[in-house]
């Protein structure tokens, strides 16, 4: 996709500045409804998920004490994998967003939570909550657009380095949690000679290494040793669980912003952005994944990426409930709600990674085929006057 401001058919050209503010007010109303009705059921939900996750993890690790026996290996690895996925996705990511802070439970709070992940929660919150969620899909501002190692938008300049990006993406998927740790440290930028010695950067590196050491000691030393004669097989079980979780979270996260149909924005288009315009950018900059209830939980409800980006701090169990209202807004305002099954969205994102490893005009065209995952929307009305988002170009 080319940034929205440079497209021939600007998908928001039919919206006036007043339309966008009205849209913002409607979204604010949805948000208020959820906040007013947050209560005991929601609290019970997250506590149930946390308990399930911990029981699964304890159970899986206990079974793995006998991992020499293949059935125990499979059962234990499966339980541990599911537990680890739940821990990062439905619990960790969402708690760290402050979705459960309203409960005032110091054990389930964004300022106290630490997760089963290579990157320390504190560093991740900064790069994810403060940077990515604020500058979503703004070229040059949102580092999540290709994580600084890939080109995922025509608007990003091609470099021969990008020829290898299908491979970089695959490697990143396999070691995703370490990729995120490196990303949160902004290694690419900070390893330059001029910055390397920065004491603040060095202390963050130490913090991350400490976290990685603790995590690795747990999974690759302590639990194997505790398994005695099953040490080697418990080690492979833990490696497998972490590996599958890496692949899974990488896939889910790729589906959030990389599939075809997702829009990107020019760097200076967000200067003086109103609340309505911010909402609009989140709506167009994200893509959902369709699927079953279980699938939504396993993605940490990031399958409702659009709803999540509109309201990052609403409890994740509520996204499903507001999705129809949000879709209705897309319809009424003539916008495309991008969604599709997991395999389709993963394939779409991978296609883009592969296609953009080559320069834009390599195949003699610059525009990709229309997004396959977009739901049909009301016909755009006749373009109105330039609106703020585009006018600032």
């Amino acid at each position: 996709m080319t940034t929205i401001q440079k497209q021939a058919n600007n998908p928001i050209a039919h919206l006036s500045a007043e339309d966008i503010e009205r849209l913002g007010a409607e979204l604010d109303a949805i948000r208020e409804q959820v906040i007013a009705s947050r209560g005991a059921d929601d609290a019970a939900y997250i506590r149930r998920v946390i308990t399930t996750q911990r029981v699964l993890e304890m159970g899986g690790r206990t079974v793995l004490l006998a991992s020499r026996f293949p059935p125990a290996w499979f059962l234990g690895t499966a339980a541990l994998t599911v537990a680890k996925i739940l821990e990062n996705m439905e619990i960790g990511h969402n708690v760290l967003h402050g979705q459960w802070d309203w409960m005032r439970d110091p054990k389930i709070h964004s300022t106290t939570w630490e997760w089963d992940h290579a990157t320390p929660a504190e560093l991740w919150k900064h790069s994810h909550n403060q940077l990515h969620h604020t500058y979503t899909n703004v070229l040059g501002k949102d580092n999540d657009l290709g994580y600084g190692i890939m080109r995922v938008d025509e608007g990003q300049r091609w470099h021969p380095f990008h020829l290898g990006q299908p491979l970089w993406n695959l490697v990143n998927a396999c070691v995703f949690e370490y990729g995120i740790a490196a990303y949160d440290l902004e290694l690419g930028k900070n390893l330059r000679k001029s910055r390397r010695g920065n004491p603040e950067f060095r202390s963050r590196v130490r913090q991350t290494l400490r976290k990685i050491r603790r995590q690795a000691t747990k999974d690759y030393v302590v639990h194997p040793v505790l398994s005695g004669p099953s040490a080697a097989t418990t080690l492979t079980a833990n490696l497998t669980a972490n590996f599958i979780r890496n692949l899974w979270s990488h896939s889910v996260i790729m589906c959030g912003h990389f599939p075809e149909g997702v829009e990107t924005f020019e760097r200076n288009s967000i200067e003086g952005e109103t609340r309505g315009e911010w909402y609009l950018r989140q709506m167009l900059g994200s893509a959902n994944i369709s699927g079953s209830r279980l699938m939504h939980i396993m993605t940490g409800n990031l399958s409702y990426q659009i709803e999540h980006h509109l309201f990052p701090d609403l409890p994740s169990n509520r996204y499903q409930e507001i999705a129809p209202k949000v879709q209705d807004l897309f319809q009424r305002y003539g916008l495309s709600y991008t969604t599709g099954s997991l395999p389709r969205q993963v394939a779409s994102a991978w296609k883009k990674v592969i296609r953009l490893s080559l320069p834009n005009d390599f195949f003699g065209r610059t525009e990709p085929a229309p997004a396959s995952g977009s739901t049909p929307t009301a016909a755009p009305s006749t373009p109105k006057a330039e609106l703020a988002t585009t006018a600032s170009r």
Binding site: H109, D116, Q130, K211, Q215
Partner: protein, 362 residues
């Protein structure tokens, strides 16, 4: 020689090692996070209790029987307990005086009076179910009997103010030779522990003076002196509405016996002036508009900030947070405290409100 000392340090080192190993197993969580699933009362660092029964006392008061978990250090009669309950999914903390005598291994009781519109007291009296796990803090407070019991004692209470005194009477009435209790409540049936107190009086354990304010009006210090002529010679413990306690304090001070009067307040006397302001909770990335009457503690809590707290009425300093910039006003006396960037003036958030824009480091 050394052998007599080795067992203790060795056991301690082993225990410390075991704890470290257990943390390696459960990182980034702590073992208690898993163990509390199996045994919610087992943790000694996160004190919890199970509500074993909710016993109605009057139409709007009930006694909660609570079994504290491991780590409960016991209490002295007259002290209070901080209790955290989840109401509509939100954790709320309040203090309640212990009404049971100390029984180190047993249950404890608190007695709650439901206030009109009271968030926590209404819930505890009318909605709380036996079996609920509640959060607890260790007992605290200085409103207790001295080890050498006074020869002559007086208790002056009103409404739910009977609670800490009931704890003391249940614990030590038989060690007090000369006790007078003057208790005020609107009507006879509103007297919490009415039957027990009357029984105790009938057995000669104390002289009970009940004042039914619907019929007889409020008791003032003059009226009290008429009922208890040797008032200021008595070591006195008083608990009730602030107006009553202030009047008593003045009377005792005037008689030069201020030191004999011990009071327990359930709420601070607050005043609100000025306009409030915008409060930034910098460590939590939260900004909130607050009026001049709302405490910084309430403002933070209602915006999801994990505020430390204790008594919620300005006595324990469990709620202090550094003020980095701006001004706050003490709700008890209107005094303004200001900080300039670089400062870290500690303020009691439970009795302070914004006096203009301010920044708290939490």
């Amino acid at each position: 020689m050394a052998t007599t000392h080795t067992p203790v340090p060795l056991r301690d080192t082993l225990r410390a090692r075991a704890r470290r190993l257990a943390r390696l197993v459960t990182t980034p969580l702590v073992p208690g996070d898993y163990l509390s699933i199996l045994d919610p009362l087992g943790s000694s660092s996160d004190l919890r209790g199970r509500v074993e029964a909710v016993l109605p006392e009057t139409a709007d008061a009930a006694t909660l029987v609570i079994r504290p978990g491991r780590g409960w250090a016991g209490h002295t009669a007259g002290q209070y307990l901080r209790l955290g309950v989840d109401i509509d999914g939100v954790r709320q903390w309040r203090s309640y005086s212990l009404t049971s005598p100390p029984r180190p291994d047993g249950t404890v009781t608190v007695t709650v009076k439901a206030l009109p519109g009271g968030t926590v007291s209404q819930f505890l009296v009318h909605r709380l179910q036996a079996g609920t796990i509640v959060q607890l803090d260790q007992a605290a407070g200085e409103f207790t009997l001295p080890a050498t019991r006074p020869a002559k004692a007086l208790f002056v209470t009103a409404g739910s103010g009977i609670t800490p005194v009931m704890g003391m009477l249940r614990d030590g009435a038989d060690q007090l030779d000369d006790v007078v209790l003057v208790h005020s409540a609107p009507r006879p049936e509103d007297v919490i522990f009415g039957a027990e107190l009357r029984g105790l009086a009938a057995r000669g354990g104390l002289r009970l003076i009940e004042r039914h304010t619907d019929a007889d009006g409020m008791l003032d210090p003059g009226g009290l002196a008429a009922l208890v002529p040797d008032l200021t010679e008595r070591e006195t413990w008083a608990c009730g509405p602030n107006g009553m306690l202030d009047a008593l304090q003045d009377a005792y001070d005037a008689a030069g016996s201020g030191a004999r009067l011990h009071t327990e307040r359930f709420r601070p006397a607050l005043i609100a002036v000025g306009d409030g302001g915008t409060v930034s909770f910098t460590g939590s990335a939260v900004t909130a508009d607050a009026d001049a009457a709302t405490s910084l503690l309430d403002t933070g809590e209602s915006h999801g900030v994990l505020m430390p707290s204790g008594c919620r009425m300005g006595i324990c300093f469990g709620c202090v947070v550094p003020l980095r910039e701006g001004s706050v006003r003490d709700l008890r006396n209107g005094q303004v405290t200001s900080a300039v960037p670089g400062d870290g003036v500690l303020v009691q958030t439970c009795v302070s409100a914004a006096a203009g824009p301010c920044q708290l480091d939490i």
